[in-house]
């Protein structure tokens, strides 16, 4: 009870200037995180430079909860590369390996077929209705590196959004009640 009384006193005793300073510091932290994210998007050339592996279709190489670093260059897409692509109509990107490549002589355009290492069949079942191949514009990036387990934070926050709210609430409380 005394602790709560202390907290309420500290909230009441804050001056307006102090509050403003704290709000600006918080804003600085958020915007620098945003700058780093956008900077990564520029460096790697990909819309989402980091993705979390959501399914077990690439096991035992990539397990659910690993994060992948992506890079997209102008180099042509070749068999064996692990690519991240979006299928029209699905918002969740899929991370699978390219198993077939047919590159046109005249236009340089490429038809690509992918398959998850741990899946029995290729990805034609996942593509849009009537689609037999992926083209370059479907592909968001190539996986070049990976870190295990770090993506579980994102998975937990997406599947149990209550945890996200608790975290943000606690962070907000910490900012308001800290005396710096």
């Amino acid at each position: 009870m005394g602790w709560i009384g202390e907290q309420i006193d500290s909230v009441k005793s804050m001056q307006f200037r102090q509050l403003l300073t704290q709000a600006i510091s918080l804003g600085m932290i958020v915007t620098s995180a945003l700058i780093i994210w956008k900077g990564l998007m520029c460096i790697t050339g990909s819309e989402s430079p980091v993705v979390v592996v959501l399914s077990g279709s690439m096991e035992p190489g990539f397990k659910r909860g690993d994060i992948l670093f992506l890079h997209m260059s102008k180099d042509p897409i070749r068999a064996g590369e692990i690519v991240v692509f979006n299928v029209d109509g699905r918002e969740i990107p899929i991370v699978h390996r390219v198993i077939k490549v047919h590159e046109r002589e005249d236009s340089g355009e490429v038809d690509v077929l992918t398959k998850g290492d741990n899946n029995f069949g290729d990805d034609r079942l996942l593509y849009a209705e009537g689609q037999m191949w992926l083209q370059r514009h479907h592909i968001m990036g190539r996986a070049v590196g990976f870190l295990p387990y770090v993506g579980w934070v994102t998975i937990i926050m997406t599947e149990q959004p209550i945890i996200k709210y608790i975290l943000i609430g606690a962070l907000g409380l910490l900012v308001i009640t800290s005396k710096e």
Binding site: K100, H102, L147
Partner: protein
């Protein structure tokens, strides 16, 4: 300054930084490995070779694939994904790569192998350009680390040719 909160925060930040540095060093250590893999592929038999109803050629073959990929493994290697692709050129397409077989090598002990198999994935062309077509058999591998950068490379084996007519 010495409250539990501050100490826990400092400890956690330090732990995460050290972990990140260790992962980076583990990945960098992979660059010191100079691999010297070898492989050999023989096509034993063309089982059948036909033109499908939709106009594309398809061929089925039985092969012997042998390789020694032990030098690719380092202490930071989780697995090596290996696949064999047939690569060829047609008048319509400047490059075609069709994966015929793939496998996962989980440990160094299994990296020297010899298998006798038909193609796991269908060898289908875009069109009917496969008769008497020269093609390369390329063994590709993808070293997937425990943390960090992935490496991929290949060995190209030339000198294969498909039959002149359908069977």
């Amino acid at each position: 300054m010495h409250s539990f909160g501050y100490r826990a925060n400092a400890l956690l930040t330090f732990a995460i930084t050290i972990l990140a540095v260790m992962c980076a060093i583990a990945s960098i250590s992979d660059n010191f490995n100079t691999p010297s893999p070898t492989s050999q592929v023989q096509v034993l038999n063309i089982n059948w070779f036909r033109n499908k109803a939709d106009g594309d050629d398809e061929v089925s073959m039985t092969m012997n694939i042998s390789a020694d990929l032990q030098s690719l493994f380092t202490w930071n290697t989780k697995q090596v994904f290996v696949f064999l692709a047939a690569e060829y050129e047609t008048p319509q397409n400047s490059l075609n790569q069709v994966s015929l077989w793939d496998g996962i090598i989980p440990a160094k002990e299994h990296a020297r192998f010899y298998i006798h198999t038909t193609n796991k994935y269908r060898f289908v062309d875009q069109g009917s350009n496969l008769r008497e077509r020269d093609f390369n058999m390329t063994l590709h591998w993808h070293v997937m680390p425990k943390t960090g950068k992935m490496f991929a490379d290949k060995i190209v084996m030339t000198g294969f040719r498909l039959p002149r007519s359908y069977r």
